[in-house]
């Protein structure tokens, strides 16, 4: 489908439901559901073709989603199956419209393809999502923890992670406590 963009009015804002329809048209087997809430539309999709869907949204001249506003994870433990979702907030700077993609990720196989090839800025978002939820992004150039120390155990934003942390203290902080205990005798007692 060839769409001419009128250069006199170089942008054409699309209704988010119409965008969702376009995605559904193009990938009928991938779209699970379309949810609209307060004029914001979420397209719930399967994770297998996430890069193809994102590439379509990125390259199509009418959609032209050149900006990925945010990427985050959600844990629906005990509320939904599959357990995780990776959420992409897309925005078109040219057309000034946006859409949300929710990619379903299961607990048994917490992996999804990385979209760093389309938006380089998503690099750190994916690292954060990996850091907090343990979702692995295949094809990511440098998938390390971004906020927590690299030898941290567990993924804190998962709902089954204890709020006050696990019983076993992180080794780096345990070392500091040990050091403080050792040096306590040199403190001034007054």
């Amino acid at each position: 489908m060839i769409v001419e963009v009128n250069m006199k009015f170089p942008y054409m804002k699309m209704d988010p439901l119409a965008i969702a329809e376009r995605i559904k048209e193009k990938f009928p087997l991938e779209v699970v559901d379309v949810v609209s809430f307060r004029d914001q539309v979420s397209v719930i999709i399967k994770k297998e073709k996430i890069v193809e869907i994102c590439r379509f949204l990125h390259d199509d001249p009418v959609l032209d989603f050149d900006h990925l506003r945010d990427l985050c994870g959600v844990d629906y433990l005990g509320k939904k199956e599959p357990r995780f979702e990776v959420i992409y907030h897309l925005y078109s700077v040219r057309h000034r419209h946006m859409i949300r993609l929710n990619a379903q990720v299961s607990e048994s196989d917490p992996k999804i393809d990385s979209v760093t090839s389309l938006w380089a800025g998503v690099n750190w978002h994916e690292r954060e999502c990996f850091d907090m939820f343990g979702i692995k992004f295949k094809g990511h150039p440098d998938l390390r923890r971004i906020l927590l120390p690299e030898d941290w155990e567990g993924y804190p934003l998962r709902k089954d992670y204890p709020l006050k942390g696990p019983e076993k203290e992180w080794s780096g902080f345990a070392e500091v406590l040990e050091k403080a205990k050792k040096y306590r005798e040199f403190d001034w007692e007054g």
Binding site: K164, G165, G172, V176, K179, A180, W188
Partner: protein, 173 residues
């Protein structure tokens, strides 16, 4: 040789300090050392979170910590004091401890704000529940964040504490 002080006109200006006019002062080393220390507390320029903004405000012209001799220094090796201004995360704790370890004796720690005192609202996996778990804290300044006046009160309390020290200058301490 003991001097008979009743005959030479010594004036006791305060407890433990006598003045022989015009320019001789007799006092204890404790008093002199403590007075000079508390009049020139140099904290490290070290902020961790939003409390650091209040700390900067306290140091700037309006509240003017310079008048107490409190001048922020860029290096812990030239400082006497560290103000833990903000949330101490577990990842940051080794760094905070290292900054403290680099300060030469005598050194003091002021825990500024709820987070540094007790962890504050962050009773979570990544926050140290009070920096007194790994530092010898001298003064706790509560507040979220404490106003510059509160920090000033804390520093004056620290000065009072330093004034009462005995023989911290001595090698047999």
């Amino acid at each position: 040789m003991l001097i008979d002080t009743s005959t030479i006109g010594l004036v006791e200006v305060e407890e433990g300090t006598k003045v022989l006019p015009p320019n001789l002062i007799i006092t204890s080393i404790d008093k002199v050392v403590n007075w000079s220390r508390l009049s020139s507390i140099w904290p490290v320029t070290f902020g961790l979170a939003c409390c650091a903004i209040e700390m900067m405000a306290a140091g700037a012209a309006h509240y003017d910590f310079d008048r107490f001799g409190i001048i922020f220094r860029g290096s812990p090796r030239q400082s006497d004091c560290v103000i833990i201004a903000g949330t101490v995360t577990k990842k940051m704790a080794p760094v905070v401890r290292r900054v403290f370890d680099q300060i030469p004796e005598p050194r003091y720690v002021v825990a500024m704000g709820s987070c540094a005192c007790s962890g504050g609202i962050f009773r979570t996996y990544n926050t140290v529940q009070g920096c007194d778990t790994f530092l010898p804290v001298d003064v706790f300044v509560p507040g979220c964040p404490p106003r510059p006046e509160t920090l000033m009160e804390g520093m004056i309390l620290l000065q009072e504490k330093m004034r009462k020290e005995q023989a911290r200058w001595s090698m047999w301490r």
